[in-house]
Amino acid sequence: MDLVRDTLAGGQLAGARLIRLLDDEDERGVAALRELYPHTGRAFVIGITGPPGAGKSSLVDCLIAELRGRDTTVAVLAIDPSSPFSGGAILGDRVRMQRHALDDGVFVRSMATRGQLGGLSRSTFEASMVLDAMGYQVIIVETVGVGQDELEVVELAHSTAVVSIPGMGDDVQAMKAGIMEIGNILVINKADKEGADRLEQQLLTMLHLRDYPQGSWLPPLVKTSALNQEGAAELVDSFYAHRQWQIDNDCLESKVVARELHFFQELVRDMASRRMLRRVGDSDAYRQLVSDLAARRVDPYTAAERLVAQSGL
């Protein structure tokens, strides 16, 4: 198997293996990604986030069906949590997407967070590049079930939908900062359930109370029912409308730059701290610093300052 060539040709064996290598931090993965990078940047990356049990996976299933009906190829990255104790995980998102299992234009990959906070897994960004290089036109990133503040998906996706469901709290919840602010599209899923209209009013009120600068994107509210297969067409339309708005307002380019910058900065941070610790982490001075910290002889700010200075930065 030639990882690079086969991935570029859309080969599922190669693409899947490459995602695996990247997830396992195997350097062969990075080597392949270096070559693939020029071939990425074509896919439309969509984020789906919301609390556990909001129906994200079922909604993704509806989105796949809708996109396939429009002759668009789709890849999905579905993130579920790793156990903080064993490091293991149960990844069950694709259970909801089984009807697409034999469709050549669909690729579903489950990923475990592996300790990463923020709603994505450690290598979701890299995996999205692989799927992009494989040629999938739309990549749907489904976050873990999030609370109020896991916003990492916004950095990765060009357009993000926040999924709410009836019965999760009153209008104060809707007003809070964090997750409710990030949606380019607000989705009310399980709209067949009691309370959906009230939630709609709460979200509309929240949107009206916000101070949007002139000419900015106003997040549309889309009601969906994955159960009754309703609302997927409108949701897909909303994603494309947001993309078109980004293009028309010269925002897409800056979004793309911000995206790459985010990944790049994370990489630099990671690389720099690893190298620094490799250089000084095994020294007596480092061990002294740690014991001084524990004994409260030095404060963490001073200690960090000394460590960084020691490594020559």
């Binding site: 899947a16 995602i19 064993s86 293991g88 149960i90 259970v95």
Partner: protein, 135 residues
């Protein structure tokens, strides 16, 4: 980071007895593995596709209503045809000894029958993963 063991667990055909497979899924999770659960009513094609897309190390089929002789050979053959024969194929459930012998001859790596302990299955998988070439 060390290579993480990924396991696909599924049930095929109309077999809907899920307790065993969910107990095993949790046990393997607690043993530090990433378990992808396919859900019910899988065909061999679906299992093969999923195994490839998820790049699992192990494909585990739970069978409690007598479909094993029909489905397991299809899975083994399907993986081979797709170029994914590197995956370990195991099955468990209500499987008579004489069928277990046949299944192993057909390319199933191991058969766990009633009473098999989850810890034993986890140890078996870990042992097989340790034998793997460092690729």
């Amino acid at each position: 980071m060390a290579r993480k063991t990924r396991v696909l667990l599924g049930k095929m055909g109309l077999d809907c007895h899920t307790i065993g497979v969910t107990v095993l899924a949790q046990a393997l999770r607690d043993a530090g593995m990433e378990v992808i659960y396919s859900g019910l009513k899988q065909t061999a094609d679906m299992i093969v596709r999923t195994a490839i897309q998820e790049d699992v190390d192990v494909v585990g089929i739970s069978s409690l209503s007598g479909g094993h002789m029909r489905y397991l050979p299809e899975v083994v053959e399907g993986l081979r045809a797709a170029g994914a024969e590197d995956k370990l194929v195991i099955c468990g459930g209500v499987i008579p000894e004489r069928d277990a012998v046949k299944l192993k001859a057909l390319g199933v790596d191991e058969v766990f029958t009633m009473g098999a302990e989850t810890a034993h299955i986890a140890r078996y998988i870990n042992g097989k993963m340790d034998e793997r070439p460092a690729a």
